[in-house]
Amino acid sequence: MMDQERIRNFSIIAHIDHGKSTLADRLLEQTGTLTDREMMDQVLDSMDLEREKGVTIKASAVRMAYRGEGGQEYVLNLIDTPGHVDFTYEVSRALEACEGALLVVDASQGVQAQTLANLYLALDADLTIVPIINKIDLPSARPEEVAQEVEDLLGIPAEEAIYTSAKEGTGAEAVLRAVVERIPAPRGQGDAPLRALIFDSHYDPYKGVIAYVRVVDGDLRLDEQLLLMSNRQPVDPLEIGVFRPGMKPTDRLGAGEVGYVATGLKTLQDCRVGDTLTVKANPAQQLLPGYRPAKPMVFAGLYPADGEDYELLRDALAKLQLNDASLVYEPETSQALGFGFRCGFLGLFHMDIIQERLEREYDLDVVFTSPSVEYQVLKTDGQVVAIDNPAKLPPEQEIDQIEEPWMQIQVFTPAEYIGPVMDLVTKRRGEVTKMEYLDAQRVLLAYEIPLSEIVVDFYDHLKSRTRGYASLDYSPADYRPGDLVKLEVLVGGQPVDALSIIVHREHAFLKGQKLVSKMREVIPRQMFDVAIQAAQGNRVISRATVKALRKDVLSKCYGGDVTRKRKLLEKQKAGKKRMRKVGQVEIPQEAFLSVLRLGDE
């Protein structure tokens, strides 16, 4: 039995890119968990996509052995978390498995929006915070100032801060010492019935769902049948073990320990993150406090570029979902795009990742429609329907009221950009709730704003208006009624369902105009004139024409180089094949995402 006094469980949290994964590398090195040969940069970011983008997408756990002062041996379980807001829920899960958190702050950037947001999550979970000022090697680093900022803004005494350069390895030993000294040991009941919290999972084709667990009370053993408490699903563990960081089997995990259970279960739905594992023969009475399941925030239609790939897309989504429980989808059909799926994502970044994974790991060419949020529509007959696809919005006369999701957002910005930020937010229907000078130069602006106004390109605009200095965090607020209408696009007189969007009535005219001129740019000239219209209800609010193609012929004679001519025509034919036909009109796939690029006011 591992003495709980010798265990420390902690997370690393920070604003995006402040150096969590790099610090984790140094801790792994310092404790000799990985040999030099095994070491690589951001070793815990094991997905190809994570390595390429240099961001953490999925939390990961690793167990380290550490010999403290006086030769005492400790087991340290570290959970690295993603920094992007889309993945806040991953962070909150990881925190439930810990007693402490290293709050990493970039010594040149200082406290940012997500530093604050993640700190609050950690405090909610009752964690002990160890402040780390990282990147002190940067010429622009101002460690003491930032430590003072941490004290002023977050109430964490400046003298507690540990200075590190994760890049150069400075301070790693001090961090480990602080983990042992400051973070409390777990205090589970070793002799009580088993309660183990599932804080993450992934799918293994041979061993089924691998549940990442934190044993709170009791003992987790390979030879006992387990039970998932929420759905009373029995589990015969195929393997239990710890992360080093690869999976290394053991035969038991005691109270306070972090490890995994290979459940043999076939879907993540059977083994939900947040659930409690107990022993079937001697079950615990009380579930551990779980967390709310991640709720999708934006929705988009996904259609195979080639209709024949429908089954492939379905299988690929099922496989992605095995490792990403936050991805939800159901079949849908579109007149324009045929058979596909409506998918829910945590945010646009999450959607981008799914898009890239479909392309790369499954070699699929997928058309994404413009992202939408989920509306609550109260109909005149008293029914309430949830609408996540603008095309499905009931006719205006059947609608009593539409409610849309609102968010709370926090923007950290240098004071000189208050004006531009305010302007951006108010143009997007946001309302200021708080403005607080953090110090002479920096301001925290809090707003409430409809989610639909920030899913598309808000962050890009915020960044460009503040020359990259502002940072952003957001969380859901509530649903509120809005004066919303559906904007339809008609091509050649036919409504194209996949191009519909829901907008505020006051923005309808402008958005309609932009949509039409965007469509005119992306729809190539055809054999006949193509009319493009934007309509709200029966009223056409903007129109344009793509004139018929007049000239499309190779006139030159390249000696006898027939192959060159042929290749050009083949390319043209391949391009045509990738278009979608609406009536007689061919629409290129990028048209369906063009709402994303309507640009700002």
Binding site: D552, L554, G559, G560, D561, V562, T563, R566, L569, Q572
Partner: protein, 383 residues
Amino acid sequence: MPLIEADPAAGLYIHIPFCRAKCTYCDFNSFAGLEPLYGEYVRAVAQELESGPRAELRTVYIGGGTPTVLPLSDLSHLLEAARRGRPLPPGTEVTIEANPGTVDGAVLDGLLSLGVNRLSLGIQSFDDEELQLLGRIHTAAEALAAFQAARDAGLQNISLDLIFGLPGQDLDAWRASLDRALDLGPEHLSLYALSVEPGTRLAASIRQGELPRPDPDLAADMYELAEEACAAAGYQHYEISNWARQDGLRCEHNLIYWRNEAYVGVGAGAHSWARGQRWANVASPSAYVALISRGESPLASSEAIPPELEMGETMMMGLRLLDEGVPFERFRRRFGSDLRQRYAAEIDELDQLGLVEVDEERLRLAPRGRLLANQVFYRFLPL
């Protein structure tokens, strides 16, 4: 790759990749400033010609580049090598491309005595400003002089090349150039719409905004204007970009391409097609010379064309011929199938779009299909 292997007869193309100066719009395999290479290059081409087997020549076409940058003695050497052991029946078309500024009376006399009986003159425009924009080495006056000299020398089959759709060119300007060409009464006219090819100086000037981007709709108007003007002047419009005074004055060599019949090209970057194979020589003149002088093959690529693709290419090329089109009987003899059945769906769709016409004998482009021919062609390619 052996020359003219099994086909009883083929067209022969000889490529001369040299020019005085590189025109701004040109992406052909041609280079300025390679004068030191001329001698070796001619020897290499002669060697490629001599190492090939003997077969009857249906046509000879010396193209470029600007073949007439070579001295007459070199051209004579090449034609001799081509004819050695290869029958050239009397009256066989022997064309040479020339640019004004590279031919005078003496050269033209010489060419005639070498057996050249057709001259393709790259005039491009009769407007000095346009000529300058195109980077041509000659003026309109020199172009006229070259034409006159060719007539005086006794050439009875002269073709003129003109380009329309130039940046800044309007309908009147095009009409003016075209009228001057028609006034000269050439036997043949090739009228090409300018295409701005990536990598050319012209493309760069347009990208940088120094020149306006040509408007394709205006080019379409210019094409239609040309169709009318040439018809009024009594020319037959026999190929998308080509007009002839009468049947016998159509370009025999190019007809071989358009009918997808066998031809063999020699010289740098030259292409060949015979017996189900397409092949091409290395494009770089110096690499070509080096390979030949080491006794190696100048081949850069070759591709076997399966029957289905050959059918597609036959359609793509054949439909360029406006009155001839693709005759059903010829297609059936060549491929053993009926083209109306083989391409029933494509023909039906194109017919509805008004792009093609079918009669008892042949499929051809409808007048509306001439400017939209790519829309027709790609449908016949297997993909």
